[in-house]
């Protein structure tokens, strides 16, 4: 019998483990001077070092080490005074060297933590995620499997390799086992990756684009029968390429494992692949046979021994923590908790801050980004920030404040900008979206409205102010919505002797 998430949680407690790989945004690769540009033509960013040609010798990119130390410090890690690179040997063509230069038992950073906050039924709750290690390695090349029906490795006739990505500095951040998250496991995982991404972005060490693979997450899940204290076999889900997928993958894995256990089957220790469409995972490589990578110290690279002075210098450059920043902005803008959560979940905090910095009123900036722009983005199934820029929104808000646009007209301007009709100003000119502020033009429309509804006008004259609504509506209709309703009301009531 298939167990759903709630049933699974009644019987089992989940334990999580998260491995995040992040590509650093250095100009050059980890061990050679090849460029690291994303999306370059295949094999245009390779050299004897990253192709592993005989006699080539690697040289460590100092900036990458600095970035890794910064990441470790931001995650409250100890920086190892002595650290070495190691060769991870394996036969697979994604690394032309037949090994990946990585770190084994001597990583650069160890024993840190990251506190993440999530919304629970009992209010906000903080979970501490402990960090086991942060180590340096290099990314692998990209494989294209040709000949199979699905583009998957199984059934492929041959594979094509592009080594542009091989050798790009990669940092692996590994958590310790995360117990006690219970039914909040999917949210804790998502909050952790989100917080980590925000930290990495604030450090400026990576592009952190999950959709481009510069931030990748592997999620390990195991279940133990509630109260038993016995840790179950874990599965490792790869290919989790968005924050939402992190949450879905863990949710799905908990259901799958519980269902298996419930029907008396055992969990196989294996790699699973997350399927974006269904939110399910598919079995990949079995790890029943312990992997043997025959790690040994990389003889071509000397140890890394960061001095305490260097570490302290780097610590002094750490930027404001994203969680601190969020609290600061929430106070400065006087945002209610719920709306702040919406902003963060919609990933609109940065762009709203940018809009506010361009002079927009914080509450207006928030309501435009969370309201109309998000609505259009949902319709088109794209991100809000891909539709309009902060400066365009700031400009539109300024035009509303100055009375040049009404909210209604402004929505049309946003729509025009989104449809690629140009800048807000160009949309206004092209569509003729100007507030009718000319009193005489408005008065003409008001007089026609009164002439058309003499009874209504009489009631207003008699003191029935709410009746004016019908007349105001008629004027707004006559002016194609380009009049300021407040202004129309003011002129109308005055004309009928009620103001």
């Amino acid at each position: 019998m298939a167990l759903n998430f709630d049933q699974a949680l009644e019987k089992y407690e989940p334990t999580l483990g998260l491995e995040v790989h992040v590509e650093l945004n250095t100009h050059s690769k980890m061990f050679c001077g090849c460029a690291t540009e994303f999306g370059a033509e295949p094999n245009t960013q390779t050299c004897p070092v990253c192709l592993g040609l005989p006699g080539a010798l690697p040289a460590v990119n100092g900036k990458a080490i600095e970035s890794t130390i910064l990441i470790g410090l931001a995650l409250n890690c100890s920086i190892a005074p002595y650290s070495r690179f190691a060769r991870k040997n394996y036969f697979y063509p994604d690394m032309p060297k037949n090994f990946q230069t990585s770190q084994y038992d001597e990583p650069i950073c160890i024993n840190g933590y990251l506190d993440v906050e999530i919304d629970t039924e009992e209010g906000k709750k903080t979970f501490r995620v402990e960090i086991e290690r942060v180590h340096m390695e290099e990314d692998t090349g990209k494989s294209l499997h040709v000949g199979g029906s699905t583009g998957r490795i199984h059934g492929a006739e041959y594979s094509l390799l592009d080594y542009n990505r091989a050798g790009i500095p990669l940092v692996e951040i590994v958590t310790k086992m995360i117990p006690g998250t219970d039914k909040y496991a999917p949210q804790v995982a998502r909050a952790y990756v989100t917080e980590l991404r925000d930290i990495l972005r604030s450090l400026g060490v990576s592009d952190v684009k999950m959709e481009q693979g510069s931030l990748r997450c592997d999620a390990n899940v195991s279940l133990s029968p509630r109260g038993s204290g016995i840790l179950g076999t874990r599965s490792e889900t790869k290919n989790v390429n968005s924050l939402r997928s992190v949450e879905r993958a863990i949710f799905g894995e908990i259901e799958r494992q519980a269902t298996r256990l419930e029907s008396g089957e055992r969990i196989i220790q294996e790699t699973r692949h997350f399927l974006e469409e269904s939110g399910l995972t598919r079995a990949g490589r079995s790890k029943e046979q312990a992997e043997d990578y025959r790690y040994f110290p990389e003889p071509d690279l000397v140890p890394v021994t960061p001095s305490a002075e260097w570490v302290e210098e780097l610590r002094a450059t750490l930027p404001e923590k994203p969680s601190t920043r969020r609290k600061r902005l929430q106070e400065a803008w006087a945002v209610p908790d719920k709306e702040m959560t919406s902003l963060i979940n919609a990933e609109l905090l940065d762009v709203v801050e940018e809009t506010v910095n361009l002079g927009a009123d914080p509450s207006k900036a928030r309501s435009w980004w969370l309201g109309e722009i998000s609505r259009l983005a949902n319709e088109k199934d794209v991100s809000a920030t891909s539709l309009v820029t902060a400066s365009q929104v700031a400009e539109i808000i300024a035009l509303i404040s100055s009375g040049e646009l009404t909210d209604k007209l402004a929505r049309q301007v946003v729509e025009g900008v989104v449809n690629g009709e140009g800048t807000p100003r160009e949309v206004i000119d092209a569509r003729g979206l100007k507030v009718v502020s000319d009193d005489s033009a408005l008065m003409a429309a008001i007089e026609s409205a009164i002439a058309a509804q003499p009874d209504t006008a009489e009631r207003v004259r008699g003191g029935n102010i709410p009746a004016a609504g019908a007349l105001i509506g008629a004027v707004m209709k006559a002016t194609g919505g380009q009049a300021d309703a407040a202004k129309v009301r003011e002129l109308l009531l005055k004309h009928l002797g009620q103001a």
Partner: protein
């Protein structure tokens, strides 16, 4: 006791993707055992205060500046490849369950 067993030699051969016959395994297990025995004598000489050497030179923190240098052209990069297609290295079907 032997320094390396026949099973360990067989496992190493598997990891290194070297196909070996039973006769070869028997032979090599004996030979490697002798070699390891000889090397092990070094451990007797080195006291506990001598750390295992991975790097003969007492150097640390040798870093390169993060500067882009010219890469090979794709033609150069692929010039030694046994097979290529679409400006990529072409490799035979990747068998088994590797990632």
């Amino acid at each position: 006791m032997a320094a390396i067993s026949r099973e360990e030699v067989a496992n190493l051969a598997r990891l290194a993707r070297i196909e070996m016959t039973d006769v070869e395994l028997d032979h090599l297990a004996t030979e490697m055992d002798v070699i390891l025995g000889a090397v092990a004598r070094v451990q007797e000489v080195a006291g506990a205060e001598v750390p295992p050497t991975s790097h003969p030179l007492p150097l640390t923190n040798v870093f390169r500046a993060d500067v882009v240098t010219p890469s090979l052209t794709p033609e150069e990069a692929l010039s030694g490849a046994p097979a290529k297609a679409d400006q990529r290295f072409k490799v035979p079907q990747i068998l088994g369950d590797a990632e």
